[in-house]
C-alpha cells in the first residue's frame, strides 16, 4: 500500500466501457454488453469507495493526483491534468457513481427490448466518464472539459430516439441553451486567468485568502459569469427551458442526468468556487434570488402539468432552485446536502415513474393513469417514500436538507426572511403537486381500463428499493455532522445566530405546510375529483398562464430565436451563399478567363512568332550569362553578401 488511490481509474473505467460498447457493442451479445456496461460503473464505484475508506482512515484531504505530463504549457500558463479528492468531491463522487450504478442496473431492465441497447449504454458510460472528470477536476479548465462532455452526453441521450423529431429537437435545444451558459463559464475562466493567472481552484482560494481585503468588483463579475454557466447547466432562470423538453430521453436518463447528477453540476461548481462568491455579496444575493425565483416559478408550472415526467422535470428545476438558494445564503454544505438527498429521491421518483410507464406500456399522461397501487405494489411503496421525502415529511431525507436550507435562509436578515417565505410557499406547492401526481397515478380507478399494467422486473425494482431506503434514511446523518465534514472544502455553515428553539419552530412550520399541501391534494384528487376542473374554470386566466408555462418558450422564440434565425438566414443566403461563395466562384472564373485571354496570344500557331520568342529567350539567356551582374549592380550601389563577407 503506497497510499496511491488511482483516482484516474474513476473516470477511465466508464470511458473504457464507452469504447468497448460504442465500437463493438452492436456485434456483441446482449449479455456481454450489459456486463461491460455494469462492470465499468461498479468498478468505478469501488475505486471511489476505496478512496472514501482511505479518507476516513487518516488520508489527508485534499488529496491530489497530477498527471506528470502537463496538459497545457504556454508561456505563463500551466494547466495540468489534476484530479483532486476532498470532502466535497468525495460526497459528489459517491452520489454520482453510486446512483449512477443503480441507474445502470435499472436500465438493463428498462431498455431491454430497445434496438440501440449497446449505444444507450455506451452513452451512459460516456456520461459517467465526463461527470467524474467534472467532479474530480482540480482546475476550472478540466472541469470545463467534463462540463462540456456531460452536455454532449446529455444531448446524445435526450436525442437517443432520434427518429422522433421531438426528441432530436429537444436534444438540440438542450445543447444550444447550455452553450449560452458555457459562454458565461468561458468568460469567467478568462477573467480568472487575467486576474489570478491560474485556473487551479486551490491556488485561487490561496490567493483570495492572502488578500483578505479583496472583494466585489472583478470578483463579482467572475462570480456572475460562472453563475451564468451554472444557470445553464442546472436549469435555473432564465436558462431552465431545456430541462422540461429533455424528458424526451429515456426515463433512466432523466433520472441520472436530468435529476440526480448532471443538473447539479452548477451547484457543485458554485460550491467549488465558493471562495469567490464569499467575497461578492452581490453575486451571492443574485444566486439566492435566482434560486428562490426559480424554485417558486417552476413549482407553479408543475402544478398543472399532465405528463408524469414533466411534473418531475419542473419539480427538479424547483429543487435545484432550493440548492441555489442554499448557495446564495452561503450555506454551501446545506446546498450539497440537499443535492445528495435530492439525488436519491428524485432519481427514485424518475425511476418509479419509468416503472409506471414501463408497466403501462408507454402511457405517461396522468389523466390516463390511476389505480396502479394494486398492480405495481413495489413501485407504489418506493414512490410513496420518494413523495414523502420530496414533500419534506419528517423523518424522510428531504425534510432534513430542505429544512437546513430554509433555516439558513431565515437567518440572513430581513431579505433572508423573504427568501425563506418563498421557499416555504414552494414547499407547499411541492407537496401539493407531488401528492397530485401520487393520487392521479396510484389511487382511485384506472382511467385506461384497456391497459393491463404489470409490475417491472427485479432489475428495475431493486434499484427502486435501494434508493427508497436512502430516500428515507439519507438525511439522518444530520446537517450539523454533514456541514462539519464538508467544512474544509465548502467553509463552515454559520448558524450561530439561530437557536434550537427557532429551528424547531421552523421545522414544524415546514412539516405543517407539507401536510397542508397533502391535504389540499387529497381534497382535490381523492374526495372531489371534479374540483380541479372547476377551479381551472373559475380562474381561466391563471390556469392558462400556468398551463402555457408563462409563455416563456414562446417569448424566447419571438424575441431571440426568430430574429436570430432571420439574421442567420440572411447571413447564410446572402452573405455566405451569394457574396462569399458566389463571389469567390465568379472571381476564380474571372481570373482564369482573364489570364487565358492574355496567354492565348502566345499560342498563335504562327511558326515565326514562336521562333522569334525562341530567339528572344536565347538572347536573354546569353545576356544573363555574359553580363557581369555583380559588378554592374555594385556600380549602382547594391552589394551581394557572398559567403558571409
Amino acid at each position: 500500500m503506497n497510499g496511491y488511490l488511482h483516482l484516474w481509474l474513476i473516470p477511465l473505467l466508464p470511458f473504457a466501457g464507452f469504447l468497448i460498447n460504442g465500437i463493438l457493442g452492436r456485434r456483441l451479445p446482449k449479455a456481454l454488453v450489459s456486463t461491460v456496461a455494469l462492470l465499468a460503473p461498479l468498478a468505478s464505484f469501488a475505486v471511489v469507495l476505496n478512496a472514501a475508506r482511505a479518507a476516513t482512515s487518516g488520508l489527508a484531504l485534499p488529496y491530489a493526483e497530477i498527471c506528470p505530463v502537463g496538459w497545457i504549457n504556454a508561456g505563463m500558463l500551466h494547466i495540468d491534468f489534476s484530479f483532486v479528492l476532498d470532502q466535497l468531491s468525495l460526497v459528489m463522487l459517491l452520489v454520482v457513481t453510486g446512483v449512477g450504478f443503480l441507474i445502470h442496473i435499472y436500465s438493463v431492465g428498462y431498455m431491454h427490448d430497445d434496438e440501440g441497447y449497446a449505444r444507450y449504454f455506451s452513452y451512459l458510460n460516456l456520461f459517467l466518464f465526463f461527470m467524474t472528470v467534472l467532479v474530480l477536476a482540480g482546475n476550472a479548465l478540466l472541469m470545463f472539459v467534463g462540463w462540456e462532455g456531460v452536455g454532449l452526453a446529455s444531448y446524445l441521450l435526450i436525442g437517443f430516439w432520434y427518429q422522433k423529431t421531438v426528441a432530436a429537437e429537444a436534444g438540440k435545444k438542450a445543447f444550444i441553451v447550455n452553450r449560452i451558459g458555457d459562454f458565461g463559464f468561458l468568460i469567467g475562466m478568462f477573467l480568472l486567468l487575467a486576474n489570478f493567472g491560474t485556473l487551479t481552484f486551490s491556488e485561487i482560494a490561496d490567493k483570495l485568502a492572502a488578500n483578505p481585503a479583496w472583494s466585489g468588483g472583478v470578483l463579482t463579475s467572475i462570480a456572475l459569469c460562472l453563475l451564468l454557466g451554472a444557470t445553464g447547466k442546472s436549469a435555473q432562470l432564465p436558462l431552465y427551458i431545456w430541462l422540461p423538453d429533455a424528458m424526451e430521453g429515456p426515463t433512466p436518463v432523466s433520472a441520472l442526468i436530468h435529476a440526480a447528477t448532471m443538473v447539479t453540476a452548477g451547484v457543485y461548481m458554485i460550491a467549488r468556487t465558493h471562495a469567490l462568491y464569499d467575497r461578492s455579496p452581490f453575486a451571492l444575493s443574485v444566486v439566492a434570488i435566482i434560486g428562490a425565483a426559480t424554485a417558486i416559478f417552476a413549482a407553479t408550472i408543475g402544478l398543472v402539468q399532465n405528463d408524469i415526467k414533466r411534473v418531475l422535470a419542473y419539480s427538479t428545476i424547483s429543487q435545484l432552485g432550493y440548492m441555489f438558494l442554499g448557495c446564495g445564503v452561503a450555506a454551501y454544505s446545506a446546498a450539497i446536502f440537499h443535492l445528495m438527498t435530492h439525488a436519491f429521491f428524485k432519481a427514485l421518483l424518475f425511476l418509479a415513474a419509468g416503472s409506471v410507464i414501463h408497466g403501462m406500456g408507454g402511457v405517461q399522461d396522468l389523466r390516463k393513469l390511476g389505480g396502479l397501487r394494486k398492480h405495481l405494489p413495489v413501485t407504489f411503496w418506493t414512490m410513496t417514500a420518494a413523495v414523502f421525502a420530496i414533500a419534506g415529511f419528517f423523518p424522510f431525507a428531504g425534510f432534513f436538507s430542505k429544512d437546513a436550507i430554509l433555516y439558513a435562509a431565515f437567518l440572513q436578515g430581513n431579505s433572508g426572511k423573504v427568501l425563506w417565505f418563498v421557499g416555504l410557499v414552494t414547499a407547499l406547492l411541492t407537496s401539493f403537486y407531488m401528492f397530485r401526481l401520487w393520487y392521479l397515478t396510484f389511487m382511485g380507478k384506472s382511467r385506461s381500463p384497456e391497459v393491463h399494467p404489470h409490475e417491472s422486473p427485479w432489475s428495475m425494482l431493486g434499484p427502486l428499493v435501494i434508493l427508497a431506503l436512502f430516500s428515507i434514511g439519507g438525511g439522518w446523518i444530520g446537517i450539523e455532522r454533514f456541514a462539519a465534514y464538508l467544512a474544509p472544502s465548502t467553509g463552515p455553515l454559520s448558524l450561530e445566530t439561530g437557536s434550537a428553539h427557532l429551528e424547531l419552530v421552523l421545522s414544524i412550520l415546514a412539516v405543517a405546510v407539507a401536510l397542508l399541501g397533502w391535504f389540499i391534494a387529497d381534497r382535490f384528487y381523492r374526495q372531489r375529483p371534479e374540483a380541479p376542473a372547476r377551479l381551472a374554470a373559475a380562474v381561466p386566466a391563471g390556469y392558462s398562464v400556468l398551463a402555457h408555462k408563462y409563455w416563456v418558450d414562446e417569448f424566447y422564440g419571438a424575441v431571440i430565436v426568430k430574429p436570430l434565425m432571420a439574421v442567420s438566414k440572411f447571413v447564410l443566403e446572402w452573405v455566405v451563399e451569394v457574396a462569399i461563395l458566389g463571389g469567390l466562384a465568379w472571381l476564380l472564373g474571372g481570373i482564369a478567363t482573364f489570364t487565358g485571354a492574355i496567354l492565348q496570344r502566345w499560342q498563335s500557331g504562327n511558326l515565326r512568332s514562336y521562333a522569334a520568342w525562341l530567339a528572344a529567350g536565347a538572347a536573354a539567356l546569353l545576356l544573363f550569362a555574359l553580363v557581369p551582374w555583380t559588378t554592374v549592380l555594385a556600380n549602382v550601389g547594391i552589394h551581394f553578401n557572398v559567403a558571409g563577407h
Partner: protein, 100 residues
C-alpha cells in the same frame, strides 16, 4: 595564322543570317535552309575550337550534327511535301493551324 576570332565571327555571322532568314523568310523551304545555315554556323565554331585546342571531340560533334541534319532534311522535306499537298501553299504564315 588567321586568329581564332575571325573564324568565330564568321560562325556567328552565318548563325545570325540563319536566324534572320528563319524569322523573315516566308517560304517554308527557305526557312528550312536557314536552319541548315544555323547548323553549319555552329559546326564551324566546333571545328574552330577543335582545331584551336587540338581536341578531336569537336570534330566528332560536327559529324553527329551532319548526320542529324541529313536525317532531319530527309524527314523535313517529306513533311514539306505533305504540307504542300494538303495546303497547296508553303507560306509559313498561312500554316498556323495545328489541324487540317
Amino acid at each position: 595564322m588567321i586568329p581564332l576570332s575571325w573564324y568565330l565571327l564568321l560562325s556567328a555571322t552565318l548563325f545570325s543570317l540563319g536566324v534572320v532568314g528563319f524569322l523573315i523568310k516566308r517560304n517554308l523551304i527557305t526557312v528550312f535552309m536557314s536552319i541548315e545555315l544555323m547548323l553549319n554556323g555552329v559546326n564551324l565554331s566546333f571545328v574552330t575550337f577543335a582545331h584551336q585546342w587540338h581536341l578531336v571531340k569537336g570534330q566528332i560533334f560536327v559529324f553527329f550534327v551532319m548526320v542529324v541534319a541529313a536525317a532531319e532534311a530527309a524527314v523535313g522535306l517529306a513533311i514539306i511535301i505533305a504540307v504542300f499537298r494538303a495546303r497547296s501553299t508553303l507560306a509559313v504564315d498561312r500554316i498556323d493551324l495545328m489541324k487540317l
